[in-house]
Structure formats: structure tokens, C-alpha cells
């Protein structure tokens, strides 16, 4: 088309046809340079399936954008400096108090910049919601088995985003240099000092000398506004590209298979729904920030290393690490003029283990099943009892530690002994996940039996019928083919068998340890105690043909 118009112009003739609309011409221009049409061909009418739980990741995405927008605004006023000044701003109760410029500029944002407090509160609420949404989104992906091939790498990207999000939050709420967050940094320093051999060196290098020194706020500032969000932005883009590339998973149902994706197109439905949802999330967080105060740093005052406030709590996502530290007995080993600070170092090492346990699960499951196929149909949690039980146990573990992190709050609010709570958490750390695992698995099995019952005998209609001989029975209603399909669409694995260890000639076959472990796990995952065999066509037909129903 462009060559055509050039010839026309060189010929000096008037174009016979009307020019294309301006939008199209801009698109043509861009396509000639960026190739946007091939991109749009694949994506503009991309189909996305619909389910309420698919929204959770969107909440995380949008709160991240909101946090970036408000964060940029805050940097315009915030001074990341630990230089001590005497305060003479608008907040009268602090007049004459010595504080760092970081704290003073936080007061300025809150009391002198119009809308500054709102931006601070949106930023902090947004951050809390961001991490919470990532957490719940991860749980959704976990319990539906959406992490299976081909999405394992995206699972790891998401996991990294969660961990980085937690540390971005930690470095962020430390910036105001108030008494509460300073205490958190002190805790961090103590934890670093517990690291054998290099602890004191890391601490000196991080703080630019002894705690607290003059550098930690400005260093946290670069980490918080540049390093971590930069990495996260990259991971986020990769995460979304993979979502598009893999196409979204969907639940089983009429017309839905592992080879298609059923739903509505990006343009216009999801443009409007997802785009609109950004505004809904932003709107709700704004209203939250308008009505509920968060992190009022002027209440606790500037950080002083010899002062502390009670109820010292980190933001919720760091609470489990706080719990680990609080419940650990104070073990210290002194040998050859050196100290192993196990009471702090063990919790510091358990922290990545706790997080890592959930991250590696997909790889363990795929090793146990040996399944190399792609999975695009989501599992209902009940149909993967071992996985669901593991996830529930992990959450229970996490919450036990969260209780430990707030043991003082539990003690004061419920008038309990803090020693008793600490001991409950110490024991619960080992016991609660096991109990949760067993109970969850049983619930899943029960639900599977219920599904089987429904498929074979139909659903309870609530209509009571009296038979001629006086017996009352409830009429069961047959399920539609759609429901029958949905309830039987899941696959069930059989446990892996090692087979005889000696062959026909009596020669011992070598069975590796990992193979034995795999067989054992496989039995645990898919043995008869871990799943209810789903109804077969024969069972169904035997019951439905003739006198089977009652």
C-alpha cells in the first residue's frame, strides 16, 4: 500500500480512494517498524477462560503497579539520609526532637504534602495486598495443579516474585527510620551476626560499620526502589509472557479439553474486565487508605537504638520468620574461643527451608508420577488428595509460626501465658502440619466418595416418596451428561511398582535407592489409601440400567 501511494504522489494524481482512517495509518506505520500485526494476530483475540480464582493473580499484578506509581511519587519527597536534625515541621508534638532526615521527611510527607499521607497509605496498603495476593494466587496455582508441565518455570518465577516481594516490603517499611522499623533492622543485624565465620563481616559491610551507623537507610533505599523492583519487573514481564505463551489453564467441563482453551477473547471482553479490574483494585485500596490508618510512624517516634516500643511486630508477611526466632530455645555453643549462635542461626536457616518446601513440590510430584505430558486442565483439589494435604499442611505450618510471631499479642488479647503459647508453637511446629495433612487427606477422600456417589446414584432431589409398602425414600435425580463428564474428567495415577527384584532365572535385579523411594512415594500419593477409584462406565451402567436406583 505504501509503495502504491508513493507512485501516486510521484505521478501527481489525486488518490482515487479515500485515505485509510488515521488510526489505521498509525497502526500501519508502527507495523512497518515493529511488526505489531503478527503480535496482534496471535494475541488480540486471545481466549481466556473464566473463573473467580483466576482473578487473584490480577490483584497481585495491579497492586504491584499501584505500589510502583505511588512509590515514584513518594521518592519525590523522601530523603533517604540518616543525618541527624532537629525537627521543626508541622507536627507539633515532635518539635525539637533529634531525628534522622529520613524520619523527618516521612513526617513532611504525612503532614506537609497535601495528599502525601494518602500516597503513603496507598503505598503501604498496596504492598500488604500485593504480597497477600501473591500468596493466595500461589495457593490457587498449587491446589489446582496449575504448576504442572509446561508451567514449572513460571511457578518458579512466581515464587521468586513472592520472596523478592517480601524483601522489598521489608526494606521499604524500614525506610522511615522510626522506632518500630529500626527495631526490625536491629533484629536483622542480630540475625546476621549469628552467621558463623562471616557474620560480623557481613554486618560491618552492610551497615558501613557498627549498627546502626549512617548508611543503612540510603542503602536500603537503593535496594528498595531500584534493585529489587527492577528484578521483579523483569520477572513479572517474563511471568506474563509465559501466561500468554502457554495459554491459560481451565477447569474440566463441557466442551473443555486438554487441547483447547474455552472462554472469551481479550478484545473486547478481557480488555474491559481486566482493565476495569485494575481500577476496581486501585479504587478499593484508595478507599482503604482514606479510612484506615497504616504505619503511623509519628506515634512511635524516631529510631533510638536504646529505646523500643512494645507490640513490636513486622508486617504480616515477615511474621513467620519472627515466629521462628521467638520459639527457638537460646542455644549457644562455645568452642575454641568461638561461638555458634544456634538459637538465632537455626531459625535463619529454617526460613529458606520453609519457603523452599513449597517451591520444590512441583518437581517432586512430577518425579513421583513420571508424567511427561502437558497438563492444561486444572485439578479439583479433592482429586489430588496428597498434594492438597501437603499444601494445607504447609499453610498450617506457616500459620503456626505466624502465631509464634505474635505470641505477645495472643497473650495480651486472650489473657494467656506467653510461655504456654511459646510451648504450643514449639510443639505445633512439628505436630500441626502432620495433623493437618492427615485430616485434609481424609476430607479429600470423603469428597471424592461423595462425587462418586453423585455420579452413580444421582443428586439428592429433596423429594421424599412413599413406596406402596410404606417405606419412604428420597428420589435421586440423574446428573446431566455435562455434570457426569465434569465429575469424571480427572485422571487417576496408579502407584508405581518396582516389580520382582529377581528375574525368572533368579538373578537379582539392581533396584536403586531412588527408585525404591519413588515407588514408596508413589504408593503414598496414589495408593488405595490416597484416592477413591473413580466410577467406571460399567458401574454406572449396572446401576442405571434396571432396578439400580432407589
Amino acid at each position: 500500500m505504501s509503495t502504491e501511494s508513493t507512485t501516486k504522489q510521484s505521478g501527481g494524481e489525486m488518490p482515487r480512494q479515500r485515505k485509510a482512517p488515521a488510526g489505521e495509518r498509525v497502526a500501519d506505520w508502527a507495523d512497518g517498524r515493529l511488526g505489531i500485526y503478527s503480535l496482534a494476530k496471535a494475541n488480540m483475540r486471545k481466549i481466556f477462560p473464566d473463573h473467580w480464582s483466576f482473578m487473584l493473580g490480577e490483584v497481585a499484578l495491579y497492586s504491584f503497579i499501584i505500589v510502583i506509581l505511588t512509590g515514584v511519587y513518594l521518592t519525590l519527597f523522601f530523603t533517604p539520609s540518616m543525618a541527624e536534625i532537629e525537627y521543626h515541621g508541622s507536627y507539633v508534638p515532635m518539635h525539637g526532637i533529634t531525628m534522622s532526615e529520613a524520619y523527618a521527611s516521612t513526617l513532611e510527607i504525612s503532614f506537609d504534602v497535601r495528599g502525601g499521607l494518602l500516597m503513603r497509605q496507598i503505598h503501604h496498603w498496596g504492598a500488604l495486598i500485593f504480597v497477600a495476593a501473591m500468596f493466595v494466587h500461589m495457593m490457587r496455582v498449587f491446589f489446582t495443579g496449575a504448576f504442572r508441565k509446561p508451567r514449572e518455570v513460571n511457578w518458579l518465577f512466581g515464587f521468586l516474585l513472592l520472596v523478592l516481594g517480601m524483601f522489598t516490603g521489608l526494606t521499604g517499611y524500614s525506610l522511615p527510620d522510626d522506632l518500630l522499623s529500626g527495631t526490625g533492622i536491629r533484629f536483622m543485624e542480630g540475625a546476621i551476626l549469628s552467621v558463623p565465620v562471616v557474620g560480623t563481616y557481613i554486618s560491618m559491610f552492610l551497615f558501613g560499620g557498627e549498627f546502626p551507623g549512617h548508611d543503612i537507610i540510603s542503602r536500603f533505599f537503593s535496594i528498595h526502589v531500584l534493585l529489587l523492583p527492577g528484578i521483579m519487573l523483569g520477572l513479572l514481564v517474563a511471568h506474563l509472557i509465559l501466561v500468554f505463551y502457554h495459554k491459560h489453564t481451565q477447569f474440566a467441563g463441557a466442551g473443555k479439553t486438554n487441547r483447547n482453551v474455552v472462554g472469551m477473547p481479550l478484545l473486547p471482553v478481557y480488555m474491559a474486565k481486566a482493565g476495569g479490574f485494575f481500577f476496581l483494585v486501585f479504587g478499593v485500596i484508595s478507599m482503604l487508605a482514606a479510612t484506615f490508618s497504616i504505619n503511623p510512624v509519628w506515634v512511635v517516634g524516631p529510631y533510638r537504638s536504646d529505646q523500643v516500643s512494645t507490640n513490636a511486630q513486622p508486617d504480616w508477611y515477615m511474621g513467620f520468620s519472627e515466629g521462628l526466632v521467638r520459639i527457638m530455645p537460646g542455644w549457644e555453643i562455645n568452642i575454641w574461643d568461638h561461638t555458634l549462635v544456634l538459637g538465632v542461626f537455626i531459625p535463619l536457616m529454617v526460613l529458606p527451608l520453609v519457603l523452599g518446601a513449597i517451591a520444590v513440590y512441583p518437581f517432586i510430584e512430577s518425579w513421583v508420577t513420571g508424567d511427561k505430558r502437558e497438563h492444561h486442565i486444572l485439578d479439583r483439589p479433592r482429586n489430588a488428595p496428597t498434594r492438597t494435604a501437603f499444601g494445607a499442611a504447609w499453610i498450617a505450618w506457616y500459620f503456626v509460626m505466624l502465631i509464634g510471631g505474635g505470641n505477645d499479642l495472643w497473650a495480651t488479647h486472650f489473657h494467656l501465658s506467653i510461655n504456654a503459647i511459646t510451648w504450643f508453637v514449639r510443639i505445633g511446629f512439628f505436630v500441626v502440619p502432620v495433623i493437618t495433612f492427615v485430616i485434609t487427606k481424609r476430607i479429600c477422600m470423603g469428597l471424592q466418595r461423595h462425587d462418586k456417589e453423585k455420579v452413580l446414584h444421582g443428586r439428592e432431589s429433596g423429594i421424599i416418596k412413599r413406596l406402596p409398602h410404606g417405606e419412604f425414600v428420597e428420589v435421586h435425580e440423574r446428573l446431566s451428561q455435562e455434570d457426569l463428564h465434569t465429575l469424571t474428567a480427572h485422571e487417576q495415577y496408579s502407584p508405581e511398582e518396582i516389580g520382582p527384584e529377581t528375574d525368572e532365572q533368579g538373578v537379582r535385579r539392581k533396584v536403586g535407592r531412588s527408585e525404591k523411594l519413588r515407588a514408596k512415594l508413589s504408593k503414598g500419593f496414589y495408593g488405595e489409601n490416597s484416592q477413591v477409584a473413580k466410577p467406571t462406565v460399567e458401574e454406572y451402567e449396572e446401576i442405571t440400567s434396571g432396578h439400580g436406583h432407589h
Binding site: D112, F187, P212, N258, K273, A289, V341, A489
Partner: protein, 356 residues
């Protein structure tokens, strides 16, 4: 099996496949399977699809949302101009709150929320809700593509001669391995070496104990039974730049206990007429301990609840701390003021590897 499970069999070897029972993923052609996938159900019309008046109503609702959003933005600007930043209003049930923060937040929230609500309502009621099925394609490449890529790679690797010219390869790896060292070296000046910094505080023989609250040197009689007093070494100015770093180690808490009640012998020797001076910095991770229970002489750290018995050499009674709070040996100078007899005998604060 493959057609039944409806998945892409990436592994041709049937032996290696998990023994999965038949799923019913694929739309079945067998009429007799009662569990077969019935295929996409026919589209059910919404009221807006058949009744133009209902569609018009939806249109007006969407437009109303967008209009409210516009009004809310006007309200935002009006609030920004109208309310002074220090105006406090009472809003039930929230209490006394900043009028500006409240009005800005609500108007901004409303303006944003209404755009979202309008867009979602538009999508749900007016845009087509016909479900469309799109095909998926295996993520893995076809074997021919894979073979081509492998061939290309081998060709490229061969042309590079990386495998043949060992000298080039090894020196390149060496150079690549060394060059990041520059970056590591550059980190050296992030901070000083620890040396014995964590072993010393500002306390020294003859330094007076200055009351944190009154800035006056303390006498033994200032320390009353049943309360904690906090002290810093004389000469440390609370307005100085290094105050926070110095007091992080030097912070002292003083308590008076009947000498007969002091169980620890050394503790008694280092006290003066029942006045004991302990480091205020918790030996767990360094929070200042501050909650004192006068009946039992227990002191509790509010961060992680480590509890120390001040009557018994600040021994750990409960919680995650690993060793007692260090005690400072004190006496009285000729003018009757409390003074230190030297620095702490052991490092204060959290434990570390070199502590010993």
C-alpha cells in the same frame, strides 16, 4: 490412550508413560459413553441480547458509573483546594481523622472504582458473552525442528573451533572467571573490618553514669527500689551524629536490689550498695530490654520475650536469648557519684562467631 487422555504424548515409549487411567478429556465420538464430553453447550442469551430496552438500561448504568467517576475527580480537586492539611474532622465510626486524607482518598477511590465498575458492567452485559474455543499447540517443538536446531548448534560450535582450540577455550574461561573479581573487590569499602569493635563500648574506668532522662550524673540514692533507671556514659551527647551507634552498645540499666537478695556472688561484688548496672541490650538480637517486674526482679525484652533474672546475674529464665546480660562493675567516686570501674568484661548485645 493418547486420544482418550487428550494430551500430547511427548514420550513415544509407552512403557515410560505413567499408568494413567483413561480420562475423558477429548470430545468423545462414542455415543454410548455416559461420561463423554458433551461439547460446548449452546449459548444462552442474556436479557440484553434479546431486549433492546434492557440493553439501553445497561448502557445508561455504564454511563452513570463513568459520570460519577468524572464528578468524583472534580470532587478530588475541590477537596485538594478546599481542605487545609491540618484540619481534623470526626467521622463515625472512624474517629478523628484528617479531613484532607479522608476526602482525597474517598474521591480518588470513587473515581477509580466507578471506571472499573463501568467497564466490568459493560463487559458483562453488553459485550458478546459467546464462549469461543481456541486450539492449543504443544509447547515442545516438532522432532524435525529439534533436529534442525541441534544440527545448527553443532555446526556453529564447530565453526567457532571452541572444542578444537583448547588454549583459546581455557584462557577465555579463565578471563571470564576472573573479571567478576573486580566487582567483588570494589565492595571492600562498604564497611570497615570488624576487628574488636564489638568488644568495646564507651565505658571506661572513672566514667560517670549519666541519667538518660535528666542528663544529670547519678548518685546511688537516685536509684530507688523497684524501678529501672537508664544511663549513658558521661561525655556522650544525645544530639551527636554517632549517638545512636554508641548508645547501641553503651546503653545501661540500673536497678536496686536488697544486697541479701542478690544471689550471684560476682554480681554482688560488682554492685554498689545493691545498685546493679546491666547492659540494656538484649543478648538475643539486640533489642533494648525494658519491661521490669519489680516483685521478681525479672526483666523482659519486648521483642522476643527473653526474660532475665537481675537478682541472679541476669541469667536467662525464658525465651530465645543465649546468655546473661553483661554487668558493668560500678562504684562511687569521691563526690558521691556512680562511676564505672572499667568497660564491660564481655561483649554486649547479640552473640557472634568471634565472641567466644
Amino acid at each position: 490412550m493418547s486420544s482418550e487422555t487428550g494430551s500430547h504424548d511427548n514420550v513415544p515409549d509407552d512403557e515410560k508413560l505413567p499408568r494413567a487411567h483413561e480420562g475423558h478429556g477429548e470430545t468423545a465420538t462414542r455415543g454410548e459413553d455416559p461420561f463423554a464430553n458433551p461439547g460446548l453447550p449452546p449459548h444462552e442469551n442474556r436479557v440484553q441480547d434479546v431486549d433492546e430496552r434492557a440493553a439501553k438500561r445497561s448502557e445508561r448504568t455504564v454511563a452513570l458509573f463513568f459520570t460519577v467517576s468524572m464528578l468524583a475527580t472534580v470532587g478530588f480537586i475541590a477537596s485538594y483546594v478546599a481542605f487545609p492539611i491540618d484540619k481534623i474532622i470526626h467521622v463515625w465510626p472512624l474517629g478523628d481523622i484528617s479531613a484532607l486524607n479522608f476526602s482525597l482518598g474517598l474521591t480518588l477511590g470513587l473515581a477509580l472504582f466507578c471506571i472499573g465498575a463501568g467497564a466490568v458492567h459493560w463487559a458483562r452485559t453488553l459485550m458478546s458473552d459467546v464462549e469461543i474455543a481456541d486450539d492449543r499447540h504443544p509447547i515442545e517443538a516438532e522432532p524435525e525442528v529439534r533436529a534442525k536446531v541441534m544440527e545448527d548448534f553443532r555446526q556453529g560450535a564447530k565453526e567457532s573451533q571452541l572444542g578444537r582450540r583448547k588454549l583459546v577455550r581455557n584462557t577465555m574461561f579463565g578471563a571470564m572467571a576472573l573479571v567478576p573479581l573486580s566487582g567483588v573487590v570494589l565492595l571492600r569499602d562498604l564497611g570497615p573490618l570488624p576487628k574488636d569493635k564489638l568488644r568495646h563500648t564507651l565505658w571506661a574506668k572513672g566514667k560517670l553514669l549519666v541519667n538518660e532522662n535528666t542528663d544529670e550524673p547519678l548518685r546511688p540514692e537516685d536509684i530507688t527500689m523497684g524501678s529501672l533507671a537508664f544511663a549513658r556514659p558521661e561525655g556522650l551527647d544525645p544530639h551527636s551524629e554517632d549517638y545512636n551507634t554508641e548508645i547501641a552498645k553503651a546503653a545501661l540499666m540500673l536497678v536496686r536490689i536488697e544486697p541479701d537478695d542478690i544471689k550471684d556472688k560476682q554480681s554482688l561484688d560488682w554492685s554498689y550498695q545493691g545498685v546493679l548496672a546491666y547492659s540494656k541490650i538484649c543478648t538475643h538480637v539486640g533489642c533494648p530490654v525494658s519491661l521490669y517486674e519489680q516483685q521478681t526482679h525479672h526483666v523482659l525484652c519486648p521483642c522476643h520475650q527473653s526474660t532475665f533474672d537481675l537478682a541472679d546475674g541476669a541469667k536467662v529464665l525464658f525465651g530465645p536469648a543465649g546468655h546473661p546480660l553483661p554487668q558493668l562493675k560500678i562504684s562511687v567516686n569521691k563526690d558521691g557519684y556512680l562511676e564505672a570501674q572499667g568497660d564491660f568484661a564481655e561483649p554486649v548485645g547479640p552473640s557472634f562467631w568471634e565472641r567466644g
